[in-house]
């Protein structure tokens, strides 16, 4: 198993394997996104308090979950790069940063849109919103550092250090709603307890979360493949691959 993982670390092997996975991932993610959105918009009953505006939860909550999850993935890849010097891990860090930034932005904007009818305000400086905004700035900082250290040999390790320094913010975001009583509602899902929502509301939510993850991995795979082609452009196999296109 370890040998398989090790072989996966070679950009060439990963590129070849991922060409097979990518169409499946794309198909699955589109299928689940479309069915999830259709379920959320058409078949979920309106909330007794919020009416139909609860439906944006199905866009907002998965985005927020992925924003944090994406940073954990980026930090994990950064740790792998610093410890084992796996080039692919550094490419993963570079690929996740813009994806994470966009999805955090989506979470913030959809949250604001949801907040207006339910709380009466677009924005409030409570713990969860502020720390998610900080998460967005952390992603932007990652992008900024990489572009400033443009192509230098040490760019990868510097960005990896920054990713690990920023990971301290993650527990603060996750537990901020529990530590400080705030306007934002507590988590809908937890690994150990039953959800606080009826089944007809949390099942489409679960589907949307899975759909977002699938879509995230699809986009990540595309970016990674691009990054591989870009960085390995002087190698034989890339030249052959490009010539064959």
């Amino acid at each position: 198993m370890l040998k398989w993982f090790h072989r996966l670390g070679s950009p060439k092997t990963f590129f070849e394997l991922s060409s097979k996975w990518h169409p499946w991932l794309l198909g699955l993610s589109l299928l689940s996104l479309v069915s999830g959105v259709a379920w959320a918009l058409l078949f979920v009953p309106p909330d007794y308090q919020q009416g139909n505006s609860v439906r944006i939860m199905y866009i907002h909550v998965p985005a927020a979950i992925l924003a944090q999850s994406g940073y954990m993935m980026m930090a994990g890849a950064a740790a792998v790069f610093l410890i084992w010097r796996m080039k692919l891990a550094d490419m993963a860090v570079a690929a996740i940063a813009p994806l994470g930034a966009s999805i955090t932005f989506l979470a913030l904007v959809t949250g604001a849109i949801w907040g207006k009818p339910t709380w009466g305000t677009w924005w409030v400086w409570d713990a969860r919103l502020t720390s998610t905004l900080v998460l967005f700035f952390l992603y932007v900082g990652m992008i900024a550092l990489r572009s400033a250290l443009d192509r230098q040999a040490t760019a990868g390790r510097a960005c990896a250090i920054l990713a690990l320094v920023g990971v301290v913010n993650l527990p603060i975001i996750k537990y901020s709603v529990e530590w400080w009583f705030t306007l934002h509602q507590p988590a809908s899902f937890s690994l150990t307890e039953k959800p606080a929502m009826p089944a007809e509301m949390w099942m489409p939510l679960l589907l949307m979360v899975i759909a977002y993850y699938l879509f995230f991995f699809t986009a990540l795979l595309s970016r990674l493949r691009n990054e591989i082609l870009d960085r390995e452009r002087d190698t034989d196999w890339v030249r052959k691959w490009v010539a064959a296109q």
Binding site: T130, G141, L145, Q152, T154, R157, A158, I161, L164, V165
Partner: protein, 222 residues
């Protein structure tokens, strides 16, 4: 004398000889705060309400301005490289640098707070809390800022980038400190905040030097 004290002494003498570089951020601090009465209007009530936040943000920005003091000169004249390859403990070097920076930039800020507090009509209790909180937090600011300074030391114009990298790390500390000042102003209990700020300081002292040392090694690694 051991390595820590030698580095500290060297840094302090260098800073004291080039005092204009040390004073600039402090002047910036005072000037920025003075802009607020001009922008918001001179009413003492309004100013004393916004004072804790304004003074804190100005302190943060002044600290960021002074980050260049830490590593840039050593990097450009090659002495940083010498320290890294010399085999001396880099963590000790980093701690000495941060101490020198705090003595030259954080501590003067704390001493200036009563002065600017007067200008912004801050009342006694809040002023006391402000001084205490800034005293507790300024080492943390120096430590976290050192991470940004070390990551960008090899860049020619790293100034604004340091702010983007470090301000998200400052946010939790800023929130806690201003909450503490407001609690003090309204006669509430501040012990909890003090403990949290101390915890942040201890976490920074233990963990930040690791990141700084790793970044310095990268910077001289060509």
């Amino acid at each position: 004398m051991n390595f820590y004290l030698r580095t500290l002494k060297r840094d302090l003498s260098i800073h004291l000889r080039g005092l204009s570089e040390v004073i600039n951020p402090l002047v910036f601090f005072v000037v920025v705060i003075s802009l607020f009465p001009l922008g918001l209007g001179p009413s003492p009530q309004q100013l004393s309400e916004v004072a804790p936040g304004v003074i804190w943000v100005a302190a943060l920005l002044a600290t960021l301005m002074s980050m260049d003091l830490m590593f840039r000169d050593d990097f450009s004249d090659g002495s940083l490289e010498q320290v890294v390859v010399s085999g001396q403990p880099l963590l000790v070097f980093v701690l000495a640098k941060v101490t020198a920076h705090w003595l030259m930039s954080g501590l003067p800020l704390v001493l200036l707070v009563p002065v600017v507090g007067l200008v912004m009509f801050v009342d006694g209790d809040s002023l006391q809390a402000m001084v205490v909180s800034l005293l507790l937090v300024s080492p943390t600011l120096s430590l976290l800022g050192a991470i940004g300074a070390a990551l960008t030391v090899s860049l020619a114009r790293g100034g604004l980038l340091v702010s983007i990298l470090v301000l998200p790390l400052y946010v939790p500390v800023l929130v806690l400190a201003t909450a503490m000042v407001q609690a003090a102003g309204s006669e509430a209990e501040i012990a909890g905040y003090v403990y949290w700020l101390l915890a942040a300081l201890l976490a920074s002292v233990t963990l930040a030097p690791l990141a700084v040392a790793a970044s310095l090694r990268l910077a001289v690694d060509r």
